[in-house]
Symmetry: C2
């Protein structure tokens, strides 16, 4: 039945190609499987004598015994596994976060199942259900929207989770995000220092907390610096990508030609601006300054290198993972969230505004 049948030794016993099991170890050490189990598990080792523990451990090592995590999970109802829910892995924002998460999980003996939702709620539901049926012990979620009933339902069912990059309104769930408000304030100050007075904002989707926080911070910063406070200078992008960034930029240019700088909701939206500049022959930064957000990999290689707000992606992932592990270990702890510091990364997409042509 099995492709490679167990071969018979001359003595007639079956030589198993299968990896050794706990019983094999026990037998080799001359003890019962239960004893072997206790000897191998540090937290129960005190229940066996030092001598037998030593024998069992040695036998395990010589046999190359590896505990079967599936059997262990079945018995303990713990999987040492968490789910990681992101919109799309090919968005360069996420790989560094994922690495941060995995680096922490790995150190604790955990692993992550990654699922992509493509921002489709139905797909998200299906994929999360599948994660839960795989007995994940918690979820790290990067797809949260401001109003997200499904996540609320999960939370009420007691599913442990941590949000990254996003928050959900009225939901007592820990989150880890960059300090978006400060980042935007830094960006606006940078432009104001350069002399810009009329600054536009291509806001991210207002269905995401990130979009809301950043655009609110933008309005505050404009007022704090006494800059031109014109609501029509704020346009919302439907999604966080280049195409929608370009669309918003075109809309903005069509109705107003007097602003000299743009704060983009994130780097991809800034990329969309670049596309429109190319279309319309606008030179950046001479005619228009742009600031992005995130400092994505390779964004420094663009034409021109993008001035942006640097975000500690790896740390965001790492902190989120650590926080989720904390929640798993002590379920009674109350949620604690984290805002990670950002930095202003000045490159070549921003400069002094060109004096307006005299009329």
């Amino acid at each position: 039945m099995r492709p490679n049948q167990p071969s018979l030794t001359p003595a007639g016993e079956v030589k198993r190609a299968q990896p050794p099991t706990l019983r094999d170890v026990a037998e080799a050490a001359g003890v019962h499987a239960a004893t072997a189990s206790r000897a191998l598990n540090p937290s129960t080792r005190r229940l066996v004598s030092a001598e037998t523990a030593r024998r069992v451990i040695k036998a395990a090592k010589t046999l190359g015994y590896q505990p079967n995590p599936i059997a262990r999970s079945l018995k303990t109802a713990k999987s040492s596994t968490v789910g990681l829910v992101i919109p799309d892995l090919t968005n360069p924002l996420f790989p560094p976060i994922v690495r941060g998460i995995e680096d922490v999980l790995e150190a604790e003996g955990f692993s992550a199942w990654i699922v992509n939702t493509d921002n489709d709620p139905e797909r998200e539901r299906v994929r999360i259900d599948s994660l839960r049926s795989r007995q994940v012990e918690g979820l790290i979620i990067a797809t949260a929207r401001v109003d997200h009933p499904f996540l609320e339902a999960l939370h009420e069912q007691g599913v442990k989770m941590v949000l990254v990059n996003r928050r959900v309104e009225n939901l007592e769930v820990p989150y880890v995000t960059a300090d978006d408000a400060t980042g935007i304030a830094l960006a606006v100050r940078h432009l104001a220092d350069l002399g810009h007075r009329r600054i536009a904002h291509l806001a991210g989707p207002q269905g995401t907390s990130t979009g809301v926080v950043r655009s609110r911070a933008f309005r505050h910063a404009i007022r704090d610096h006494g800059l031109e406070d014109d609501p029509s200078l704020i346009v919302e992008c439907a999604r966080w990508n280049e195409a929608d960034g370009a669309t918003a930029m075109r809309e903005l240019l069509d109705k107003d030609d007097r602003f000299t700088a743009v704060v983009a909701g994130n780097d991809l939206i800034a990329l969309g601006c670049y596309d429109v500049f190319a279309e319309r022959g606008i030179s950046c930064p001479d005619e228009m300054s742009v600031v992005g957000f995130n400092d994505m990999p390779f964004i420094d290689k663009l034409r021109p290198p993008l001035t942006t707000v640097g975000v500690p992606h790896h740390d965001i992932g790492a902190e989120a993972a650590r926080m989720l592990l904390d929640c798993i270990e002590e379920p009674e702890r109350r949620p604690r969230s984290l805002l990670l510091p950002v930095t202003m990364v000045v490159r070549d997409s921003t400069t002094h505004p060109r004096p307006l042509p005299s009329p």
Copy 2:
């Protein structure tokens, strides 16, 4: 003991918060668990009467029954899981491949464990061991080197695997790669057509099949077009990244200033060239043309947009996954490999050579 204790109904029975099990379904349908199992599994459903199958399925649906994959794996020794071994997820080459893999796996009810090796052999060994102990049914490997004893050992132990982007010498293991040789031939022809006669090559590491195949194809193409065949124009990069690409480019420029174009082993190496151009005030493409390889995301946004060889990353992943599933389903089939077609993507980093300054 358990944090949320099972609550008691007025009747005194225990209301379990736990998800329903197969026995619950069986009980609800008035049959034995074995029968329920057969009814729920399409391939054994013919063993039970249509009527009971209907009852069981209905009961499962009303209870919201989800089979426990852990218990199933323990019994069947199949995990519906494969391992995916890559050097580093933050290399933009991999996310599209990963998506291709997951799209196929998901459709077949499989999932992937992703591990990053950072090209460290020891780390690779540990991570693959951990995958195996998690009972993965096969591996997709993107970290293969030309000489890779560990992979050979795995293969001899009967571990099913598929290589992506790479091959291993003398190893009968299926692989899926881009048609590297044709890609390089296209790149050289493109430069030859533009009038370049003296073309350099920043080869990838010769410890990887990709590096070997591409540099061999480069030498062939140079001869086929009757171009200047100077071995000193080929420099090997230690790794496939920007820093090593830049190092190689500096070395090349220091010893020869008469070549007018470079074929980079991949896009990241080409990025390294860009850095050196900036350092030394060389203008691209006016003074030096560059061709990359892979057509990474966002590489079209560079200064200047990179001419490169387009590779169907998503398809590579998808085909590799399909191939692995085939190997799992019919272990006796002989290995079959795949070379996927590439395309020439001409952008602005290549142009006619500038006539050499008259002496």
